[in-house]
Symmetry: C2
Subunit: 194 residues, 2 copies
């Protein structure tokens, strides 16, 4: 089994190794994300310049960061934080894309994945190794794939102004309220031993 | 010059190569981020298990994802979206950390970096090559570093409930309002050719 990436195809074992290195361990959501990105890239071929929209903050964004050119820091990956195991890869010129999402109706053959996805059991009651094995066996069969048109980019981000110096901390900032930075408006740290 | 990472030290050239591969190009913010993470890791040594808080969504999060174990998908990296070239690496047990932030007073010797950081000139008026060269020369000298205690984690994220099935799209979701998912509450895509 192979996983498509912007660098070409990765053997599943290679993908697993990169996931362990980047994400820290072979998390079920990042493994599933591999099958999801693979399917979306297949639908979008040969288009290489894609933006990504991931519908959960947990795990899945890392599959996108590993397999596509989209990262949280370069702005091509956006997160819509609603806890859905779904993602869209789309062409930002045409806004046409492929959306891959978990299909609960397809989970009936895969009881461990169902228990994991629907949080029917605790992690202790649904140990990782058999779960991962069932995921490897299921591959993309638990997902649906739609061709979609993205009508607008969801999840508004603060508009950055040109940098101003905060009158309280004297640091430059680009988003705040009442002329002060977010950190000074609602402090979250203090200097040690001062 | 070397850059600390959780894997050990990287030669600056090696870091540049990883930045180009992961982020797509050698962006000034990711280059600067290398010097910032290096300093924060130096202060926090030998502690290896650190969480990260980055105070801008632009570029800098990728330096953290490359050099530490913190990623947006594993939850160890959090973004406080206020457009500050600042980051904190902290021990989540003790909440003690190192904060590295741009110090505008130290920019007077570095006019190209100052023009870039304060957006005094357009990208065209401040071409990349001399800017990068000045950054390589400046290294960490444009930053300040504080030892801090993180009192609370800023930037609330939606609390995820156990998955529910959305009555409109029939997909599982973990955060929404009035019992429907965010996508159905405010649709942002439509299926193609339907």
């Amino acid at each position: 089994m192979e996983i498509r990436s912007y660098r070409g195809k990765l053997a599943l074992k290679e993908y697993e190794a990169v996931v362990r290195d980047f994400h820290g361990h072979l998390a079920p959501g990042v493994l599933m994300g591999g099958f999801m990105v693979d399917w979306a890239l297949e639908v979008m071929e040969p288009c290489q310049i894609l933006d990504a929209l991931v519908e959960t903050r947990k795990c899945l964004p890392d599959a996108v960061q590993i397999l596509t050119k989209c990262t949280i820091g370069n702005g091509w990956l956006r997160i819509l934080d609603q806890g859905k195991l779904s993602l869209i890869l789309y062409d930002k010129e045409t806004m046409h894309g492929a959306r891959v999402c978990l299909d609960p109706q397809r989970l009936c053959q895969f009881p461990l994945i169902r228990a994991w996805a629907m949080k029917e059991r605790s992690k202790k009651e649904n140990p990782l190794d058999p779960l991962i094995e069932e995921m490897m066996h299921a591959g993309r069969r638990i997902f649906g794939c739609q061709e979609v048109v993205v009508d607008k980019i969801p999840g508004a981000l603060p508009a950055y102004s040109n940098p101003k110096i905060c009158p309280i901390c004297h640091e430059p900032f680009r988003y705040g309220t009442h002329g002060i930075c977010v950190s000074c408006a609602d402090p979250f740290f203090h200097a040690k031993d001062l």
